[in-house]
Every structure is written in structure tokens, then in C-alpha cells.
């Protein structure tokens, strides 16, 4: 027998639950091979040690306690304190990062594209208004990028994109039908900051929006899909 085969043969004998002394070929080999003899001794010691390893007697109270607990109606299977859920730190960071991304990119993009609370997205019962819906949508369409770029001062850019006069918040409360999404957003604190973030992230958001719009058109639910 070769030494490479020795250990697998040793395992074969143990798998068959036979004593190592019953394998004659192993005995022959270890008479001449010191390393394999040492390995066989270690295996033998392991088995002897396992038999000698301390095993306390099983508790006698186990049976009555289990039976009483099983038969008790409405008792809980939990014998210890309620389990505390530990969130790993990376999960917290991931959730925070996702929230920042949604707030910084998703919301400005969502409202800038005319979604959300825009009037033309709301179902209306007025048939005349329904007929004029494409015209209204066209009138509310923000200028193309080229138009925006032609304006030199960045602080005027937003006014150019949203030329309509803003409805005061009080009017919106008195007559909600007059409420426009841009007016509502403009009235909220931190809107300027959100626009700044959106402007700063435009190199990222533009291609992303393009890809998303492409998919929406492919599925027939985007702007083009709705028109078709």
C-alpha cells in the first residue's frame, strides 16, 4: 500500500465501523512506515478519547418539564428572553445611502419630469378638459435643454424652466383644484437645496433618466408609449 492511499483506507475502515486492527493491509503498512504509523495512532487516540470524553447524564427533570410545557395551553415555546434582532452595520449604511439617493435623485427627477401631482396626470371628469389635455401638456412642457443652456444666469434658469406664476399656498388650500405640483414644491422649505442637488447631479441623472425612459417606452407606459 502507498502512503497516499493510507488515510482514505483508514477512513473506509472507520466508515464501516470496524476496528482499525481488523484491517490487515493497514497493519502491514504501518510496520514499515513511521509517518503512517503516527497517523494511525492519532486516529486511534481520537476514537479512544471520544469514548472517554465526559458526557453528563441527561437530566431526569427533562421529561416532566417538557410534558407540562407541551400540555399547557397557550404557553410559548420560547424559554429564554425574547430574541433581539441585530441589524448589521452595513445594512444600516445601505438603507441610509438608498434614502439619500432617493431623496437626492429620485424625487427631483420625478417632479421635474412633470409626474407626481401634475394636473394632466390626474383623471378628470371634464370632457372638454380631457380633449384639451395634449395642448395643456404641451404648454406645461419645460423648455428643451438647448433653451435652458441659452440662459446665462443660473439663478434665472429655474424661472425659465417654470415660467408660470406660482400659486400661493393659501390659494391651494382654499381651492385645491388650482394647485400645481411646481407651486406646491416651490412653497416647501428646502426646495432650492433640492434643485441645487438635482442640478449638481445632472451628469448622473440625465443618462439614468434616459435609460429609464427608454425602458418605459419599450414597455409602452412612458411618455411616447402614452401618446401612441
Amino acid at each position: 500500500m502507498q502512503c497516499e492511499r493510507f488515510e482514505s483506507r483508514l477512513n473506509e475502515v472507520l466508515d464501516a465501523r470496524q476496528p482499525l486492527s481488523s484491517a490487515g493491509d493497514l497493519g502491514e503498512h504501518i510496520r514499515t512506515c513511521a509517518p503512517c504509523r503516527e497517523l494511525a495512532r492519532a486516529y486511534e487516540a481520537m476514537l479512544v478519547g471520544l469514548q472517554q470524553a465526559e458526557m453528563p447524564p441527561e437530566p431526569a427533570w427533562l421529561t416532566p418539564r417538557v410534558v407540562s410545557q407541551v400540555r399547557r395551553p397557550g404557553s410559548s415555546t420560547t424559554l429564554h428572553q425574547p430574541r433581539v434582532l441585530y441589524f448589521p452595520r452595513w445594512a444600516t449604511v445601505a438603507v441610509a445611502a438608498a434614502a439619500v439617493l432617493v431623496a437626492g435623485i429620485g424625487l427631483p427627477w420625478f417632479f421635474n419630469r412633470g409626474g407626481g401631482l401634475a394636473d394632466n396626470d390626474r383623471p378628470t371628469a371634464d370632457p372638454a378638459r380631457r380633449q384639451r389635455a395634449p395642448e395643456i401638456a404641451e404648454a406645461r412642457r419645460p423648455p428643451r435643454n438647448t433653451e435652458v443652456r441659452s440662459i446665462a444666469r443660473p439663478d434665472k434658469r429655474r424661472d425659465a424652466v417654470r415660467p408660470a406664476a406660482r400659486t400661493p399656498l393659501a390659494t391651494a388650500f382654499l381651492d385645491p383644484t388650482q394647485l400645481k405640483a411646481d407651486d406646491l414644491i416651490g412653497s416647501l422649505p428646502g426646495t432650492e437645496w433640492a434643485h441645487d442637488v438635482a442640478d449638481g447631479l445632472q451628469p448622473v441623472t440625465k443618462p439614468t433618466v434616459g435609460v429609464i425612459n427608454g425602458f418605459l417606452q419599450l414597455w409602452g407606459i412612458g411618455e411616447e408609449g402614452r401618446r401612441s
Binding site: 495512532r41 481520537m46 407541551v70
Partner: protein
């Protein structure tokens, strides 16, 4: 015996307390033995054995009679042990590690071979330890162990072989091989 167990289970499900008592009495040694070997702590093993039995008895109706009762019970106990070990890992570790102990040769008389094996078992990977204990102590077949662990028989064999090898290496490193009886 399997038919006997099926009958006990049927009676226990119909509300016979004596059948439940007999079921627990019959298998408590196996369950406690596995828990003790996996956890290495008597009180923890008692708690987990009790919890495993309570869970098993409450879901007795889910037991598939085509499957052995002992593998099913040991699978529940093994899962509970894993949960306890995972919770234990979250606790701060003691400053004095076992590795800091001196070589076994220096106090060979005091330390028993069994203690060395128990110590080495505690260092094995969970799957290796469970497969090894189920094979060598609980004397389950490889097919039954595969059923308990939910993995192929070949994987179980590999785990048992690796466990043997690691235990043997540990005993050689600790210098306790020479003192054992001559092998083969």
C-alpha cells in the same frame, strides 16, 4: 421500532400524555448528548434539549412518518444549537483564550485524553462537528446524517473525514498521541 414510534406519535397527537412521556424518555439521551457535544456546556445543553423537545412535540403533526423520527428530532436540536452558538458568538469573548494553555505534555497526567478530544471538538467547524458526533456518538448512518443536515451523503462523508483529520492533527500537536495505546 419505527412502527412503535409511529404508534407513540399517533397516541401523543391524540392527546395521550403517557405517549408523549415515553417519546421524550426514549430520545432524551440522544438529544441531550448532541446538544452537549455541540455546545460544550451542560446548562446550555439542558435548556436547548428542553426547547428542542417542546418544539418537536408541538409540531409533531408535521413529522413525516416516512422519515426517521430520530433524524427529524436531531435536526431540530441541531438547528437550536446553531442558533445558540450564533447568539453566543455575538457576546464579548473572554480575555483568556484556550490557546493560551501550555502544551499538554507539561501536565499530561492531569489532562485526560477525553478532555483533549472534547477541546478539539469545540474547535471544529460546526458542520464537521455535527456530522462527526452524529456518526461516531449517535451512531447514525451516513444517509440519516444527510437527512438531518439536509445535504448529500458525499458531503457528509467529506465532513466526517475532515473532522477526523483535524482531530487527529490536534492530538498530535498537543502531544497526546504517544500516551494512547498502540494503534492497529
Amino acid at each position: 421500532m419505527p412502527d412503535d414510534v409511529s404508534e407513540l406519535v399517533r397516541r401523543s397527537l391524540s392527546g395521550e400524555e403517557s405517549a408523549t412521556t415515553e417519546l421524550v424518555d426514549r430520545f432524551r439521551g440522544h438529544v441531550f448528548g448532541l446538544c452537549y457535544r455541540m455546545l460544550g456546556h451542560r446548562q446550555d445543553a439542558e435548556d436547548v434539549a428542553q426547547e428542542s423537545f417542546v418544539r418537536a412535540m408541538r409540531s409533531l403533526a408535521n413529522w413525516d412518518s416516512q422519515r426517521g423520527f430520530l433524524p427529524w428530532l436531531l435536526a431540530i436540536a441541531g438547528n437550536r444549537c446553531r442558533t445558540v452558538l450564533a447568539a453566543r458568538r455575538r457576546l464579548p469573548k473572554p480575555s483568556c483564550e484556550v490557546e493560551a494553555l501550555p502544551d499538554a505534555r507539561s501536565f499530561r497526567r492531569e489532562r485526560h485524553l477525553g478532555e483533549e478530544v472534547a477541546l478539539a471538538l469545540g474547535r471544529l467547524r460546526y458542520e464537521y462537528r455535527q456530522a462527526f458526533v452524529l456518526f461516531h456518538e449517535q451512531e447514525l448512518t451516513y444517509a440519516e446524517i444527510a437527512d438531518v443536515l439536509g445535504c448529500p451523503v458525499g458531503t457528509v462523508k467529506t465532513w466526517v473525514h475532515r473532522a477526523r483529520r483535524e482531530l487527529a492533527d490536534h492530538l498530535r500537536r498537543r502531544g497526546v498521541v504517544e500516551e494512547s495505546s498502540d494503534a492497529v
